[in-house]
Subunit: 282 residues, 2 copies
């Protein structure tokens, strides 16, 4: 298993070194694979290994989405294990599993994602309360990433429900979870689709890293998210999945993915310079 150094300082050092805070979501959808890649576990594995090799220079993190491996049964999970092992040291591996359970069950999910599958981080759904986070936060040196405000239309159903104090539920989730998890161990998912919300997010959690989906296919603006979301240690991981993975449906999928990833990286380098956080590695 690839070790990855714990805490924000190490992640920020990596972000500076690579001039990128790009996370690439590994969502190998059998219906979207490029032509020539068979929709099989073997096809998925080859596709992902090619994507990882081509895009790694422009990213700091990869985020395998467990659903796309689970659907193939035990064979798919074996592919997941090999894909995570193939990610070289120096890239954060986020298990996008959105697990949400308590006690012994959560402990076993932590074991699965951190040990069995070798991820450095896991996404977690907080609906059941802080009990859900505790067993993950108990694992030293790994990141727990709690859903706060997601980028899908349905995020308005409950996350934006107004509480009796006048604020939306997601703010309570953010503030409550932040008390339970140090910024060196806990991140939050905040979608890019409503950049103005990042202002409030940063009032509530100035120091926590945010994993931000919703770029590319979902049309979030990187410049706007950065404007409200950056902190002095960057504090953002911007995730792009389909926009990079399926940049081309032809045999040039890996080069096409690398080109898109490189454009994101260049935008990120520009923004880091503009906001004065691109300085020498500390």
């Amino acid at each position: 298993m690839n070790a990855f150094p714990a805490g924000r300082a190490a992640l920020f050092a990596l972000i500076r070194a690579r001039q990128s805070f790009l996370c690439i979501g590994l969502d190998p959808d059998p219906e979207q694979l490029p032509s020539g890649i068979p929709p099989t576990p073997q096809g998925m594995e080859q596709f992902l290994l090619d994507i990882i090799e081509a895009t790694a220079p422009y990213a700091v993190a990869f985020k395998p989405n467990f659903a796309f491996f689970e659907a193939w049964g035990p064979e798919g999970m074996a592919v997941l294990q090999r894909v995570v092992k193939a990610i070289p040291p120096g890239w954060l591996v986020i298990g996008d599993a959105k697990r949400g359970d308590i006690g012994h069950t959560a402990e076993r999910y932590a074991h699965a994602v951190f040990q069995t599958y070798g991820c450095h981080a896991i996404t977690v759904s907080p609906y059941m309360g802080l009990d859900t986070l505790a067993p993950f936060l108990a694992i030293e040196g790994r990141w727990t990433i709690a859903l706060a405000l997601t980028s899908n239309p349905g995020s308005s159903d409950f996350q934006r429900a107004t509480l009796d104090d006048g604020g939306p539920l997601w703010e309570k989730v953010l503030a409550t979870c932040a008390l339970a998890g140090h910024p060196d161990q806990l991140m939050f998912v905040v979608g890019a689709t409503h950049p103005q919300d990042f202002k409030r997010v940063r009032q509530l959690v100035p120091h926590h890293f945010l994993l931000v989906p919703g770029f590319g296919a979902q049309q979030g603006s990187l410049d706007e998210v950065v404007h409200y979301g950056f902190n002095d240690q960057c504090g953002l991981l911007a995730n792009v999945s389909r926009g990079i993975l399926y940049a081309s449906s032809g045999k040039d999928y890996a080069e096409a993915a690398a080109q898109v990833a490189r454009r994101y990286q260049q935008d990120m380098a520009r923004l880091m310079a503009e906001y004065g956080i691109a300085g020498p590695i500390i």
Copy 2:
């Protein structure tokens, strides 16, 4: 894969035939296995097959908890497949996965739990909104079971947060999801630990089945839950996991599990008679 007939009427017919609404949670915790059962995938498989065979006469449903299989990697998932296949026709198989994601990801989770692993039902976490339920509800003849009010202490963190209309979040979750899912396809998780809440639950969702954890180890009262929770088609699946699985730590674990399951079944038969829902199978 075992077919299971869709809808409430079929489930209620089964409940009447077996005079039981017991669901047995299959949580094979390696630290709690009886003596003589090695904490390995093979040990877990043998243990579960013995438990299923011994307890099936007293139950209508089995609920494998995905975490305990995932932790063992691909080999554990192969055990899960075999265990589900070993459950005979006429028992509802609930995949306790608490998945909570959207779009293509949720579709792949549905494929995994319903197709690849052959479950008839899945537990789902609603934090991301109705988007999370739709891909599961789109699968005809399968049950989606949304978390509403869980039995853990942390359920008070967010589920009981008071909204601006004066009600708790869990009521909004229940009422909103109920509009999206017919009672023949959607159930809710409501914990046994606060039986008085079932009165309000039944005002909001008179017709939906409820999957009720929190008996046994968590001390919920069956009589109280039934008092507020029964509807004219029973409307309840009472889940017991550890209280049955680990009834004995010796070699007699299967008989001990059967004895506890039988006691629950007898209580359930008594309550069904008391409330007048035990009549001849329709």
